[in-house]
Amino acid sequence: MIKIAAALFATLSAGLAQQPGGVGVPPKPEEYPPTKQVRLELLVARIPEAKAIEMQPTLRDPARCGAALEKILVMIGRKEAELVDWPVITTKSGQRAVAENVREIRYVTEYAAPDLNLPTNETAPVAVPTPTAPPAE
């Protein structure tokens, strides 16, 4: 499987917030600066390697990448591809925006020696290691 990340849509959603004073009228100092904003969508999908190689030229062609996206969505619907994430974020021009999606994996970093004080007439074949401090990552 190959993971493909495609930022296919960056749309100016100027309709959400109009420039104060109307189009063509410069804002007064006490008014806000122009508030055009950008919406960005990032599609991340896992698709079989052969399909990914086949689709690569299409994805690189701005004229055909929309159709390629539709194809990926169809594949996701048929379970032929896996949707990893498809975040959408909107921000004003010149402003930083962050969208995060994180899973924390804890793992063991410290072990203590096992205590195997068993009766002498019994055997103790294997020692089981004992984690003592699994941290967050």
């Binding site: 309709g15 959400l16 619907g77 909107t90 921000t91 068993l118 002498t120 984690p131």
Partner: protein, 458 residues
């Protein structure tokens, strides 16, 4: 369980120094009602609080009298203009925070065939948690008492039972355990504008302990004028009211934005089907209705709900979390006694973490009062249960019998500076939950500008 229950009657602290009406002409009474109700009643009521707060207040009292809603707490604070007041209703609950291994010799020998009752690790140290509600307010009265800008802080702590960790076992199969408390934390802080006498929704949360139940925080203020000062109403109040260019009618006093933020979790196929509608402003309301219907049917889930007013230029914070307490270090002990081999893992170090929603924002209404500039951060963290790490076992039977428990977390956050059109719902988040869940989290935000224009005097 060694639990000390102590109810403190509402304690009013730092009230105005001396109630001299000539010094403090205005006194404010703030009623905070904390109400629990089901999702079907809560969702429409929240919208009604935005559009018709008076009728929403009447509806809420009807729900309370018909027992469809329950009053979880009612705090009343009285204070003077520009003076802080704190009210608390607290229960103190103790819980163990240190455990020692069990001496096998102290455990009675179990009869063959009799059920083995789990045995708790001995507790050696305790801590106290405060459960209940505290309210802190500082009111600033405007327009002769019609409008109050109220700096508010609500802290609510709820007890949700105990988490049991079975992390030790005796040779005869008797399990050893320790318990940690489950606490829920709900905080609201900010400065809000309210009309005197009008119930105002200052917070709404999904209850994590009870699925499908919501908690509403409704604040109602009353402003009282002392008789001696009635003729003098005004003072700084009227002088701060802006006027229109004509100077005849008072204009917008201070703007405020009411934020509604719904967080849904739905199956991937449903999310992908709805996505085009969620991105089209003309279709987003029908997509929102679809998501609500899906939550009602149990196919999707309304996982989080933020309803908070934001006074212009004032930052506000809203949190709804489970405070998760969990061990991070274990003091493993085997026993040197051949007759009673056992293993136990009492914890020695703990951490805690808030799991849930956190919304921090600051809003500024546009010059024409039709857009809102919102700077925000919305974080959601999920707790997906405890992962059991095997920490020891019986080598003779080749079985794992002791475990340490570590929590599985995931976090999603969105932070940006955006412009929102008044009353226009907007897609804020579309993110997939980590495997094995695989569902999609969708967050929608709506900003409604509230006008606070005082009535003109004859």
């Amino acid at each position: 369980m060694n639990t000390l229950l102590r109810w403190l009657l509402p304690v009013v602290a730092s009230v105005a120094p001396a109630a001299d009406p000539h010094v403090e002409p205005l006194q404010v009474r703030a009623d905070l009602q904390i109400i629990h109700l089901d999702e079907a009643s809560a969702v429409p009521l929240i919208a009604q609080f935005t559009d018709e707060p008076q009728r929403a207040g009447v509806e809420l009292q009807r729900l309370l009298s018909s027992v469809k809603a329950t009053l979880a707490a009612h705090l009343i604070g009285r204070t003077s203009d520009n003076t802080e007041c704190k009210v608390e209703q607290i229960e103190e609950r103790r819980h163990a925070m240190e455990f020692s291994p069990i001496d096998p010799a102290s455990i009675p020998i179990r009869k063959a065939g009799s059920p083995s009752e789990p045995i708790p690790f001995p507790s050696t140290r305790f801590e106290v948690r405060q459960i209940g509600t505290s309210l802190s307010i500082t009111p600033f009265v405007y327009a002769g008492g019609q409008i109050v800008s109220i700096s508010t802080s609500v802290h609510r702590r709820d007890f949700g039972g105990m988490d049991r960790f079975e992390s030790g076992v005796q040779r005869d199969g008797t399990k050893l355990y320790f318990e940690l408390p489950i606490n829920f934390v709900r905080d609201t802080g900010g400065r809000f504008l309210v009309h005197a006498g009008v119930p105002t929704l200052i917070g709404c949360r999904r209850l994590q302990k009870q699925k499908g139940r919501f908690e509403l925080h409704v604040l109602t203020t009353q402003v009282r004028h002392f008789p001696e000062m009635v003729s003098g109403i005004g003072g700084r109040l009227d002088s701060e009211i802006a006027t229109t260019n004509s100077g005849k009618a008072p204009a917008l006093l201070i703007a405020q934005t009411r934020i509604e933020l719904h967080r849904f979790i739905v199956p991937e196929a449903d999310a992908l089907r709805l996505r085009p509608s969620l991105l089209a402003s003309a279709q987003i309301e029908s997509a929102f209705a679809n998501l609500l219907a899906s939550a009602r049917k149990g196919r999707g889930e309304l996982a989080g709900l933020v309803a908070i007013p934001l006074q212009d230029g004032e930052s506000a914070v809203f949190g709804n979390d489970r405070n998760l307490l969990y061990p991070t270090e274990l003091s493993f002990r085997g026993t040197p006694m051949p007759a009673h081999p056992s293993q136990s893992n009492p914890p020695s170090v703990f951490e805690n973490r808030d799991v849930g929603d956190l919304f921090e924002a600051e809003a500024k209404t546009g010059a024409k009062a039709d857009t809102v500039e919102l700077q925000f951060r919305f974080g959601s963290s999920g707790f997906h249960g405890f992962h059991r790490w095997p920490t020891g076992g019986d080598v003779r039977t080749n079985s794992v019998s002791t475990y340490s428990y570590q929590p599985d977390f995931s976090t999603r956050s969105t932070g940006a500076s955006i412009s929102l059109a008044n009353r226009q719902r907007t897609l804020l988040r579309f993110q997939k939950l980590p495997a094995p869940d695989g569902r999609v989290e969708i967050a929608l935000i709506r900003a409604v500008i509230e006008r606070f224009i005082p009535e003109t005097k004859p």
